[in-house]
C-alpha cells in the first residue's frame, strides 16, 4: 500500500492547509456525542409516529416493517460510515455528493437534509405542544393554547445551538439517555420476568388485516423507527476523530434503535388493540397508562417530552450545518457561510431556519409535515447506493485511505436500493400525490440550480479533498 496517496481527510489544498484555526467550526465532540446526536434525533420515533405502521398493516406488519427498515438502515450506516470517515466535513452527505457525483446532486442532497430535518423539527415542536395540552387537560384545564410552547421549544433549542455545539450535544446526550432508559424501564416493569405482567399478547394479536399488501404499506412508517440516524455525519467537522467516532457512533446508534424499536413494539401491541394503537398520538404514554402505574405514566410522559426536544435539537444542528455548507460553496447566497467568531457555530443558518420551522410547526398538519420529512429522507437514502457505487469506481480501495471500509460491496448498496424501491411503493399507496408534488419540486429546483444558481459557484474550489484524480476522468 506504499503507493497509496496519504489522505488527511479534508485538507483542502496548498492554500488552506496553512490556514490557522480561524473562522472554522470547533472540534470538540467524542463518539458518545455522535451516538447522542444520531439516537437523539431518532428516538422520538419510538415515542410517536411508528405506530402508524400498525394502522397501515396490523401489528405483525409493523414488526416486519421495523426489521426490514432495520436492514435498510444497517446498509445506510455501513455505506455512510465508509464515505463519511473519508469525507469528514460539515454537511455530511452533501459534501460526499459534491466530491463523488457532482454539484447538482450535492445541491439536491443538501436540500433533502435541510427539509428532512427542518420538517422533523417542526413535527417535534407540534408534539411538544400536544403533550403540554394533554397534561393541562388531565389536570382539568381545557382549551390551553399550545402555540407558545411550540414557539418556546423552537426558540430555546435555536438559542442552545446558537451558543455552541458542545453544550448543545451534551444536553442532547443527557435527555436522550433519560428517554431511552424510560423505554427500558417500561419494558422491564411490564415484562413477565418480574411477576405479574399486564401484557396480553395472546388475546390481542390478530392476523394481518390487509394481508401482505399491508406489510408493504407499513414500510412507509417503518422508516420512522430510525429516520434521521444518518445525521451523525453532519457533525463531522466538529468530531475529534471522525474516522473512528463516526462509524462507531452510527452503527451503535442503529443497534440501539433496533432494540428500542422491538421493545417498544412488544410492549405496545401487548397492551392495546391494534386499531387503537394504529391511530394513537402518543403510544408509549398510552402504554404506560394502561400498565396501571402512575409513576410509569409520569416517566413516559417526561420521556416523550425529552425525546422530542432531543430530536428537535439534533435537527437544528444538522439542518443548519447543511445549509451553512451550501452557503459556503455559494450554492446558496454566500451570506449563510458565516461562522460565529466566539461560539464557532453557523449562526446565520441557525437564525434563518427558525422562522421556516415556525411556519410549518404553526401552520401545517402533523401528518403532512411527517410525510414531507420521510420523503426527503427517502430520496436521500436512494442517493447513498448510487454514491457508494461511484465512490468505489472512481476511487478503488487502494487509491485513497478510508477510515472504515464496509464489507460485502456491492450487496449492501443493492439491498438498500431495493428496499428504497419498496418504500417508494409504500408511500405511493397512501400519499401518491405528495410523492409527485415533492419530486416535481425537486425537478424545478434542480433546473433552477443548473441554469441559474450554478453560475455563482467556483468550479475547482468545490473539490476540497486531497484525493487523486478520479478514475475515468
Amino acid at each position: 500500500m506504499s503507493d497509496t496517496v496519504s489522505n488527511t481527510p479534508g485538507i483542502a489544498g496548498e492554500a488552506e492547509s496553512t490556514a490557522v484555526q480561524n473562522g472554522g467550526l470547533l472540534r470538540v465532540l467524542g463518539p458518545a456525542h455522535i451516538w447522542a446526536l444520531g439516537v437523539g434525533i431518532v428516538l422520538v420515533g419510538e415515542y410517536m409516529g411508528w405506530n402508524f405502521a400498525v394502522g397501515k398493516g396490523g401489528a405483525y406488519a409493523a414488526l416486519i416493517a421495523c426489521w426490514f427498515a432495520g436492514i435498510l438502515y444497517s446498509c445506510v450506516a455501513m455505506l455512510d460510515s465508509e464515505v463519511t470517515s473519508t469525507v469528514a466535513a460539515a454537511g455530511g452527505q452533501y459534501t460526499q455528493a459534491k466530491h463523488i457525483i457532482g454539484p447538482l446532486m450535492a445541491f439536491n442532497v443538501g436540500l433533502y437534509l435541510v427539509f428532512a430535518y427542518t420538517m422533523l423539527e417542526a413535527a417535534n415542536a407540534i408534539t411538544v405542544g400536544f403533550l403540554v395540552e394533554t397534561v393541562a387537560g388531565m389536570s382539568g384545564h381545557e382549551g390551553l393554547d399550545p402555540r407558545p410552547f411550540i414557539v418556546l421549544s423552537i426558540m430555546f433549542l435555536a438559542w442552545l445551538n446558537y451558543r455552541g455545539v458542545l453544550a448543545t450535544l451534551t444536553f442532547s446526550l443527557v435527555i436522550t439517555a433519560i428517554a431511552f432508559s424510560a423505554i427500558l424501564i417500561l419494558f422491564l416493569a411490564t415484562s413477565p420476568v418480574f411477576g405479574e405482567s399486564p401484557l396480553r399478547h395472546v388475546e390481542l394479536m390478530t392476523d394481518l388485516p390487509y394481508g401482505w399488501l399491508g406489510v408493504l404499506a407499513a414500510m412507509h412508517f417503518g422508516l420512522w423507527y430510525y429516520l434521521g440516524i444518518e445525521g451523525t455525519c453532519q457533525a463531522a467537522e466538529e468530531v475529534r476523530s471522525p474516522a473512528r467516532s463516526l462509524p462507531f457512533g452510527t452503527l451503535a446508534g442503529v443497534m440501539t434503535l433496533a432494540i428500542a424499536a422491538t421493545l417498544t413494539w412488544y410492549v405496545c401491541v401487548g397492551l392495546m388493540p391494534w386499531e387503537y394503537l394504529g391511530q394513537s398520538g402518543v403510544p408509549l404514554f398510552d402504554a404506560a397508562r394502561l400498565s396501571g402505574s402512575t409513576s410509569l405514566a409520569v416517566l413516559l410522559g417526561i420521556g416523550t417530552l425529552f425525546a422530542t426536544l432531543a430530536s428537535a435539537n439534533g435537527c437544528i444542528n444538522d439542518a443548519s450545518r447543511a445549509w451553512f455548507a451550501m452557503g459556503r460553496d455559494h450554492y446558496l447566497p454566500s451570506w449563510f457561510g458565516a461562522v460565529h467568531p466566539a461560539y464557532r457555530t453557523p449562526y446565520r443558518s441557525i437564525i434563518f431556519l427558525v422562522p421556516i420551522a415556525l411556519i410549518f410547526a404553526l401552520g401545517a398538519p402533523l401528518d403532512q409535515v411527517i410525510t414531507f420529512s420521510i420523503l426527503s429522507g427517502l430520496l436521500g437514502y436512494t442517493f447513498m447506493p448510487l454514491n457508494m457505487m461511484l465512490f468505489r469506481r472512481k476511487w478503488p480501495l487502494d487509491s485513497i485511505k478510508r477510515g472504515y471500509e464496509h464489507p460485502f460491496h456491492p450487496i449492501p448498496a443493492i439491498t438498500l436500493l431495493c428496499l428504497c424501491g419498496i418504500t417508494y411503493f409504500a408511500v405511493f399507496l397512501g400519499y401518491g400525490t405528495q410523492l409527485v408534488a415533492m419530486i416535481a419540486f425537486y425537478i424545478v429546483v434542480s433546473l433552477w440550480f443548473h441554469f441559474w444558481r450554478y453560475r455563482f459557484v467556483y468550479r475547482a474550489a468545490q473539490f476540497t479533498m486531497p484525493w487523486p484524480k478520479p478514475k475515468g476522468y
Binding site: 467537522e237 461562522v339 460565529h340
Partner: protein, 55 residues
Amino acid sequence: MLIWNLAEYVAWALSAVLGIHIVIDWLRTDSRYSEEQLTSSHEGQIEAMTEQHEL
C-alpha cells in the same frame, strides 16, 4: 386555571427573550467583524491541524 394561563404568558415571554438575545448578538457580531473574517472557514480545514495521520 390560573397557573396554565400564567404558563402561556411565561412561554411567550421566554421565547421573546431568547429571540431578542439571538438577534442582538447576531447584529453585534455582524457589525464587529468583517464579512471576510466571518466567512473565512473552509471545508474540513480543522482536520488539517489536528489529524495529520499518515497511511
